[in-house]
């Protein structure tokens, strides 16, 4: 089995808090990994480190067998969909412009059309990105992430502020990408039910990694689920 990602003893120390504490896991080809954890569990720090945005970490991160400190080439094989893409609301870019930004090679209009059709946003291609709903914008950013045929798709809690119908469509798109196009997916969420329903692997993170394995193994273990729910509930109370 081919290792797509290997995380070894990853620790990230911020001035006042240890954001990640000795986290190790691997992601294999074809995995659909749901990373769950309450707010402040270190999910965003984990992604920032994996994507080369945070370089102040201890431990080792390997993509496709290569240490990411040695080469940034791995980024070419990754599509990343941020939690809430930040851009000026009146930024003059059409859907087509945004997807094209993601395209590495010389502009290939057919490829863009194909992706837009696949994600049901073809009819929006000439609209300005800021005019679209949250769900539509999210699909545009998935399209941008997919336009280079990545081997791995990383999505950071991508359903914040999106209507139910768009969420369903989003999950069905992810499942299809994973099962038909064999794209490995790493997806962070705090929706336990959604992870149970869609992911085939689960990593349970709360600064430390509490669990990593097949999702059935996690969800059939009532003790683990209970522990996670309590931890996230406490965190929730703490935040309010």
């Amino acid at each position: 089995m081919l290792n797509i990602v290997e995380i070894e003893h990853l620790t990230v120390q911020y001035p006042d808090v240890k954001a990640l504490d000795d986290v190790s896991f691997t992601v294999n080809k074809g995995d659909f990994l749901g990373i769950i954890g309450p707010n402040g569990a270190g999910k965003s720090t984990l992604f920032a480190s994996m994507l080369g945005l945070n370089t102040k970490y201890k431990g080792k991160i390997k993509f496709f067998g290569q240490d990411i400190r040695k080469s940034k080439d791995y980024l070419k094989e990754i599509g990343y969909v941020p939690q809430k893409p930040i851009f000026e609301k009146n930024f003059p870019a059409t859907v087509n412009d945004v997807v094209q930004m993601g395209l590495r090679q010389e502009s290939d209009a057919n490829k863009i059309d194909e992706i837009l059709q696949q994600l049901w946003i073809h009819e929006l291609s000439k609209r300005r990105i800021g005019e679209l709903s949250g769900g539509q914008q999210q699909r545009v950013f998935i399209a941008k992430a997919l336009v280079n045929n990545p081997k791995l798709l990383i999505l950071d809690e991508p359903i914040t502020g999106i209507d139910q119908q768009s969420i369903e469509l989003f999950y069905s798109i992810l499942r299809e990408l994973n099962s038909k196009q064999k794209i490995t997916i790493i997806w962070s969420s705090h929706d336990l039910d959604a992870v149970n329903q869609h992911a085939n692997h689960v990593a349970c993170l709360n600064r430390k990694l509490f669990f990593h394995g097949e999702s059935d193994e996690f969800f059939e273990n009532d003790e683990l689920v209970k522990q996670y729910s309590e931890a996230s509930m406490q965190e929730h109370m703490h935040h309010h």
């Binding site: 990343y80 893409p85 000026e88 009146n90 870019a93 412009d97 930004m101 395209l103 300005r128």
Partner: protein
């Protein structure tokens, strides 16, 4: 007159294109800051007996790069760093002018522009710099656009965002000094900002917006030069007022509900 129009059109195109990136990066006053710092360079050149635009290029590029570095390193916000740069340039300029014996006609022509007096050599310089910068923008179009749209995502896509940021600042520095002859130090940011703000209200996509901005800018510059020539008034003020009237007209159309 012909030289004024040719140089004016080149500068109009250049300022629109670079200005669009600056406006979208919330860096609208950066052009103004570099222009003011170049005032220090102009004063230095006049005092030293060197062609003032050369010293202006030097000083404005150095200050543009310094301010970007300072902003990065000390985490000073964009508008505050612009304010620092802006006042430093004027202060240095004033002190140098004081030392070398007060204001002269030359200083005024740099403050308010002197496009009708542009020389053949200046025209050639303006055209070549415009050509070079436009070629760089076309070659690095995706990198420039992507890092303006969202820095973090651009980084994840492997774009060298820091280098691109420096490149934009560098190109802005060159553009500002090149444009001093058209509208002068005090009105440069108008050329960077106003046509772009107007175009953003109309355009859907990036290229469409850029083309609209360039058109508005060329219209204001050409009409401004002609009107000022005919009525013997200052070109810089006329150009800026024309471009403001395009913006005001657009706002009117928009509030009348004729523009989505």
């Amino acid at each position: 007159m012909q030289r004024a129009l040719i140089s004016g059109v080149a500068i109009a195109i250049l300022c629109s294109v670079i200005g669009l990136f600056l406006v979208l990066r919330r860096y609208a006053l950066f052009g103004d800051a570099i222009a003011h710092s170049s005032f220090g360079g102009i004063a230095l050149g006049l005092m030293a007996g060197v062609y003032p635009l050369w010293t202006a290029y030097g000083v404005s590029l150095v200050s543009a790069l310094v301010i970007t570095k300072v902003k990065e390193k000390y985490n000073i916000s964009g508008d505050a760093s612009v304010a620092v740069l802006l006042s430093s340039g004027i202060a240095i300029g004033l002190v140098i002018i004081g030392i070398s014996g007060g204001f002269t006609i030359d200083i005024f022509s740099f403050l308010f522009g002197s496009i009708l007096l542009v020389s053949v050599n200046d025209t050639i310089l303006i055209l070549s710099l415009t050509g070079v910068i436009l070629i760089v923008v076309l070659l690095l179009y995706r990198q420039l656009l992507y890092s303006t749209f969202n820095e973090e995502q651009a980084k994840v896509s492997g774009i060298p965002v820091e280098k691109i940021n420096y490149l934009i600042v560098f190109m802005a520095g060159v553009t500002v000094v090149t444009s001093i002859q058209l509208v002068g130090v005090l009105l440069i940011s108008a050329l960077f900002v106003i046509p772009n703000v107007t175009a953003i209200m109309y355009g859907k996509g990036f290229k469409q917006t850029a083309i609209l901005s360039i058109s508005f800018s060329i219209f204001s510059v050409v009409a401004g030069i002609l009107v000022s020539y005919i009525f013997d008034i200052t070109p810089a003020g006329t150009i800026v007022l024309l471009s403001i009237s395009l913006l005001a007209g657009t706002m009117g159309i928009k509030s009348a509900g004729l523009l989505s």
